[in-house]
Subunit: 188 residues, 2 copies
DNA sequence: AGGTTATGAATGAAAG
DNA sequence: CTTTCATTCATAACCT
């Protein structure tokens, strides 16, 4: 890792602001190209979509259909979901690792599932429950605070809490070049 | 997609397998280019920073799917991750306080980072490693060589054999093109 | 078709 | 060190 030569303190700049601006645009352009190629490739690969695949048994494909399957993530069957919900209801706490395994075993009777799936499911279930009901044991409706409004108490800022710095120092390639090109994606 | 008219032959197919293979490679190449440009820009930005440099943009740019995201929690840059991984590999024990500081200092060359970040990273790395390998009996030495290589493929380990994740659709890791260019890390 | 929502998964940070 | 929380990302399902 040879470094130092590129991170030294320069007397003068290697690039003007304008040049840097150009670079920034180029980055954005290549990003878009990347994205487009990926999308293209993706659609080509999955060219023939076997079937819509409902909740029922997407992976087993016992009907001898093609198993090209572009299904990526696990989706609980209705039966599984039912069981999961009931378990969640009875003890809204955290299922132990042991418990997770039990649940996974049981649910595997009704479809493909892994312990990780179960684990994630409970994590997400709990998380979204919290978010939906921000006020459960709340003190008062007026003093609602922190959790929702400001979350930047991050210690990662080494020099103090100025998370807004990033915006200022680096407006980032999100300068609207995307819009110039196609205006497709945009987040944040 | 202009084609067909130049060859005169048209069998109803838009692309041959070979062509698709080429496309796939091109995607990977552009991904890397993207990443490199982003890194370059990053270093240039910090280099010309009048405030002392060292600030980094929160742009992740690890995969083409990632977009520029402003202000998030700390995310290691590809370079940082690379280094972290290699360090993790060599000594699977707990880095001393002293060591943590060293690492943090080194990594700060490649982007903003704190000692806490490093500490947390190692903690998490180890924890999730362990999770994948139920065996906790070894520990006699650095016997977790395998643990690092096939790390974290726990997701969706169903019997369907549909590991055809986007990794395959978007095969930057397997083509080795990244290594040709710089040998950057590959997530997963 | 495309944009939006719901939700599975990934991961940094913190609690215990 | 282990477990849990919080936030984010990707994508299936849904909606206009």
């Amino acid at each position: 890792m040879e470094r130092g030569s590129q991170h030294g303190e320069y007397d003068g700049r290697v690039m003007t602001e304008e040049q840097m601006e150009i670079l920034r645009k180029q980055i954005a352009v290549y990003t878009v190209i990347c994205d487009q190629l990926a999308l293209l490739h993706n659609s080509l690969s999955s060219g023939t979509n076997p079937f819509g695949g409902g909740y029922f048994d997407p992976m087993v494909a016992s009907t001898s259909a093609q198993r090209i399957s572009t299904r990526h993530r696990w989706t609980p069957t209705s039966t599984q979901l039912q069981i999961l919900e009931s378990i969640y209801e009875e003890r809204s706490g955290t299922p132990n690792r042991r418990r997770i395994r039990e649940i996974a075993t049981e649910l595997s009777e009704h479809g493909q599932i892994t312990e990780t799936n179960v684990y994630n499911w409970f994590q997400n279930r709990r998380a979204r429950s919290k978010r939906k009901h921000p006020q459960t044991t709340t003190t008062t409706g007026l003093a609602e605070h922190a959790a929702v409004t400001t979350e930047e108490r991050r210690t990662c800022g080494d020099s103090g809490g100025f998370e807004s710095y990033e915006h200022i120092l680096f407006p980032s390639p999100d300068l609207g070049i995307e819009h110039l090109l196609e205006g497709k994606f945009l987040e944040s």
